[in-house]
Homo-oligomer: 238 residues x 2
Amino acid sequence: MRYELHYWPGIQGRGEFVRLALEAAALPYVDVARSPGGVARMQRVLDSRDEVHPPFAPPYLIAGSRVIGQTANILLFLGERHALAPRSDAGRLWTHQLQLTLADLVAEVHETHHPISASLYYADQRSEARRRARHFTGERLPKYLGYFERVLTANPRGPRHLVGGRLSYVDLSMFQVIDGLRYAFPQAMRRLARRTPGLGRLHADVASRPRVAAYLASKRRLPHSEDGIFRHYRELDQ
Amino acid sequence: MRYELHYWPGIQGRGEFVRLALEAAALPYVDVARSPGGVARMQRVLDSRDEVHPPFAPPYLIAGSRVIGQTANILLFLGERHALAPRSDAGRLWTHQLQLTLADLVAEVHETHHPISASLYYADQRSEARRRARHFTGERLPKYLGYFERVLTANPRGPRHLVGGRLSYVDLSMFQVIDGLRYAFPQAMRRLARRTPGLGRLHADVASRPRVAAYLASKRRLPHSEDGIFRHYRELDQ
């Protein structure tokens, strides 16, 4: 079976967290909305009145007859099915808990450039964005990264992974978050690098895994940009 | 075994979603931070350097030797253990997917009164709040509620429940969200009521279940207030 990933073409966005899991586990998938007519196909499921399990928004995954939405929920599904998370009940929920905390951080990153509305342009909420970003880089970002550094350091199986002794989907997502943050907030991230050496190592480590490295070097990996979640606006990097 | 719920005393907040599940399933629990010294106990786990699974923020649940954080993750745990969600794999993930979508809505509600920073007073971000709330009540709220109404209507087991044929934790959370929204945005909610009759029925239905009704009438149920997530500020209810 080939999975169908449905997500906006042209940006990494939240779809990238799913894409990284599919790539790292070498799971066959098609990135539907990147093919001709794909966005319309994606939209049909979102608007469908017959679909019993309609997703609220992309990304969603089609797995046979199942439609699964919400990034963290998709990863929970893939993690259980393809050994991308610990098998024990406690390990499974702990991995998911960290993923949900990463999702909160990602949502706050998005709010830095869209503090008023996602349907307005950045230029129309620039002064509010500047205020919000100052609080984000000054308080929230150090709090989140300090937390994940602590989790990494406290892992009984060693600080190479956030959970357990091998790669899980939350390591892949952590890589993506660090990668995006370095793009969006290079100054703030340089300042925080000394206090979060473990996360720096995890980022490098994940990026150098053969399948991930091959993916990152491929055309399937889109570059960061000012249309995605992690945007670099100089005035927001304080 | 008695569960320990750890959450800020004095407000419903995100803890209320867990509390409603515990109450509706008649599970023995203690609301730790509402007892003398309880906030310090809650804080100790959050700050602990030894805790292998430290939560990022309240609420968290202690279940024997396990510490479980993130509201939706706690409900996933309780749902599996106490039949507060369908047992099938597809039903279990679908319930969780809806819960995560409710969590997104709740986060957006919080942003209406704190669009710049949670660590600033409302008064210090009032004009931004007014702008944000206008987009929320005008675009986001109708989109979310329209979605949940559609899910309810499409439930093959009937529109009394969001998933399956009996009460699940996501029905309880939907009740809480409607309850909070009616408190915070009475005008906007009156306007939307006609288009979401199913959600109105679900709210009344959940509230009248014996255990829920007993809880709502008890002192354990705190009133909505301007310290919680759902706050009523007249100027934000447009």
